[in-house]
Amino acid sequence: MNRPRRALLSPGGIAGIILAGLPAAVAGLAVVWTPYSPVAMDFDLRFASSSWHHWLGTDQFGRDEASRLMAGASASMLVALATVTVATFAGSILGALAGYFLGWLDAVLRLVTDSLLAFPGILLAVAIMMALGQTRYGIILALGLAYFPTVFRVVRGHVLSLARREFVEASRAMGNSSAFTIYRHVLPNCRSPLIVLATSMFGWVILAESALSFLGLGVPPPTPTWGNMLAESRAYMDDDALLSILPGLCISAALLGVNLLGDHLRDRFDPRMRDVR
């Protein structure tokens, strides 16, 4: 069985790292430095085209588009990352508990998540946002609550089939506690579906945040996110199409990158996939 080891990085993995890493690096940079303040208006310079001073031109209020995209990257990424983390942790822990112990715990958790799933995610987020008030953390909580039932479902289903496998029984046979068994044997084997789900969720969250911004319920202006930039520019599509195209491109590129990276990570982490060429 001495197959040649697979190269550390597949072409898809490299593309994923570049496409997802670039916006992440820019987002990091934007926290400390942007060429201009992303909220400083200059009414003499509305809809300026790209120039030496303003690389990507300016928007309807004369704000520097490049600075806004950079700041938007950090806002969008932060919301997406935090939301995905919240949803994944809550969903996978509760899902593993429900799928492993079944019984009344499972019945209660399923009732709750099924009720949450019965609402369209956006509608739910809108309702929660109304209740919580329009802050950045409100969005994270609202979207996290809207998306965790999906994670719960996936993990619970996966754990159901895992718990019947003999290695879980073997773990109990050697005297391991339930908590250790879940932590050591059950959750690690949920990694593949979780990575795929978390990366696609990253995409949904960025889009959902744009949709909320479009409805005026997202991250409150003037703080730029890719979503609310896209929403605001809609009215000026005829004047300056680039204002819509640029944030759109950023969203698409980041999503593609994150998904490629997710596939790559899944293949790397699953020992059964390592020998497959």
């Binding site: 003999e166 290695f167 029984e169 046979a173 391991n176 050591r184 044997h185 084997n189």
Partner: protein, 542 residues
């Protein structure tokens, strides 16, 4: 075969595989109409590819490289898809290994049985139905009408395999290919299904090509046998001739792997290690639509027995006899609902936390399926090391040394960095045994530890268990439906049926003078019985 006799199927120098990597190499064989030929080979010998080639169903990169397949005077090597469809089912039928997955769960039995007749004949609906009913009755299904309206999940493995045989034989093919048709079934069911299959094929004059890893089974039914190793025919001849005077080492090895009784030193009779009294295990009834539950079933119903130190006690029975529940309940992996279990004289229900912990540490388990009993994400070393976290006062260095030493004992030195998917079935079962003995247990519960393995590997695992038992002096509770294995390894045998013990006896007494009719039926169904072959008891290896 005498000259001039008609030949139904003839393979000449058949070589297939991917270019440069042949799977079958120069296989030649001939089958006369109505003949029963057995092919014996282990996993990886290419026997499954042989059956697929005969049906024109080779999986994508594999192709015929050279040689010919002649069936009833026609060359099968370059048929078009359309022409194959006329042969498959109608002329060559196939019974698959896994009855649980070879029937479509979404269709009624009637639909699945009628499918072939609809395609290959011009019968009316009523005629088809009549034929299906008649065929179901001839495979021993009494409520045939009821069966036609049912779905596959309503039947046991043995019944499904009967239905599978019925569906294939409905078309009265000239050749029936049976690929490990009974490997997934218990001994009694295995015999019933094979009797039905041979009876039906004799009635219709159908030739049979039966493929199995079990030489004993093939020898019981076939007239001629072909031994396949690494894709080449190594032995070919009449069954008796091959068994009595094998020409090849490999065949001798296969014959040596046939179960035979081995001498066992009597274990010292001291106080029992484990005593089970009136044990009851209840399974809640299945939930029906709208929450009503079926009445609960006693899987184990008042069972009492003792296991003494250094002793191997076998628990034997068919599927559903409660033997698996009994083994699980002895380790409290499933909760018992009644009775008492004493370990070294102490009632485990009354044990303190730390005493119970010691009980758990002293009792380890080897599971049936080596493909699912190990966490796929862990290396061999971490799998074997894991139980040691419950052993008190063990430093990291000692843990590592102990794990490596046990791996060496089971013959897997140097495998510690592998993952389970990189190991063969036999190697995985060795890892499972290493994991079970690493804590130096006093009792090993082995639930069908060899039934998923090839015959020669089964023998090796039994030898390994035997040797480890001699060295480490643990007791084994050996749960199996395979009386051959039980005869080799056990000191005492407990026969179970319907959750109760029907007979409990020393091995030699039980095998030589069985009292209960169920025990006698089990013994009669075991393929290794009645094959009188002279071999030294444990083969040459140890």
């Amino acid at each position: 075969m005498s000259a001039g006799q008609k030949i139904l199927l003839e393979l000449q120098d058949l070589t297939l595989g991917t270019p440069g990597r042949p799977i079958l190499r120069g296989v030649s064989l001939a089958i006369a109409p109505g003949e029963f030929v057995g092919v014996v080979g282990e996993s990886g010998s290419g026997k499954t590819m042989l059956t697929r080639a005969l049906l024109g169903l080779l999986p994508f990169p594999v192709q015929l490289l050279s040689g010919s397949i002649a069936f009833d005077g026609h060359d099968l090597t370059d048929l078009s898809g359309r022409e194959w469809e006329k042969i498959r089912g109608a002329r060559i039928g196939m019974v698959f290994q896994e009855p649980m997955s070879s029937l479509n769960p979404a269709l009624t039995i009637a639909t699945q049985l009628a499918g072939g007749l609809k395609k290959h004949s011009n019968l009316t609906r009523e005629e088809i139905r009549e034929k299906c009913l008649a065929m179901l009755r001839s495979v021993g299904i009494e409520r045939a009408e009821h069966c036609l309206a049912s779905y596959p999940h309503q039947f046991s493995g043995g019944m499904r395999q009967r239905i599978m045989i019925a569906s294939v034989m409905l078309l009265q093919p000239s050749l029936l290919i049976a690929d490990e048709p009974t490997t997934a079934l218990d001994t009694l069911t295995q015999q019933e299904v094979l009797e039905i299959m041979t009876g039906l094929t004799r009635t219709f004059g159908t030739a049979v090509l039966m493929i199995s890893h079990n030489l004993g089974l093939v020898a019981k039914y076939a007239r001629r046998v072909i031994v396949l190793q690494n894709g080449a025919v190594v032995e070919h001849g009449g069954v008796q001739q091959v068994l009595r005077a094998p020409a090849q080492n490999y065949t001798r090895e296969l014959i040596a792997a046939l179960p035979a009784r081995a001498e066992r030193a009597a274990p010292p009779r001291t106080a029992p290690l484990l005593s089970v009294r009136d044990l009851v295990v209840t399974h809640p009834g299945g939930r029906r639509l709208f929450g009503r539950r079926d009445s609960p079933v006693n899987a184990v119903d008042g069972v009492s027995f003792d296991v003494y130190p250094e002793e191997t006690v076998a628990i034997v029975g068919g599927s559903g006899s409660g033997k698996t529940s009994l083994g699980r309940a002895a380790l409290q992996l499933v909760k018992s609902t009644g009775g008492q279990i004493r370990f070294r004289g102490a009632d485990i229900a009354a044990m303190s936390r730390s005493e119970y912990h010691r009980f758990q540490l002293a009792c380890q388990m080897v599971f049936q399926d080596p493909y699912s009993s190990m966490d796929p994400g862990m290396t061999v070393l971490s799998i074997v090391d894991e139980p040691l976290r419950h052993v008190p006062n063990l430093s990291g260095d000692e843990r590592l040394r102990r794990a490596l030493q046990v791996l060496e004992e089971v013959g897997l030195a140097g495998f510690e960095k592998r993952y389970p998917h990189q190991l063969s079935g036999g190697q995985r079962q060795r890892v499972a045994i290493a994991r079970a003995i690493v804590t130096r247990p006093a009792l090993l519960v082995a639930d069908e530890p060899i039934s998923a393995l090839d015959m020669t590997i089964q023998k090796q695992i039994l030898l390994l268990l035997n040797r480890l038992q001699r060295e480490h002096k643990f007791s084994i509770l050996f749960i199996s439906h395979d009386l051959g294995a039980v005869e080799q390894i056990s000191d005492r045998v407990i026969v179970m049926r319907g959750g109760r013990i029907v007979e409990q006896e020393n091995r030699d007494a039980l095998f030589d003078h069985p009292h209960d009719s169920y025990t006698r039926a089990l013994l009669a169904a075991s393929p290794h019985r009645g094959l009188k072959i002279e071999t030294d008891e444990w083969g040459s290896r140890s």
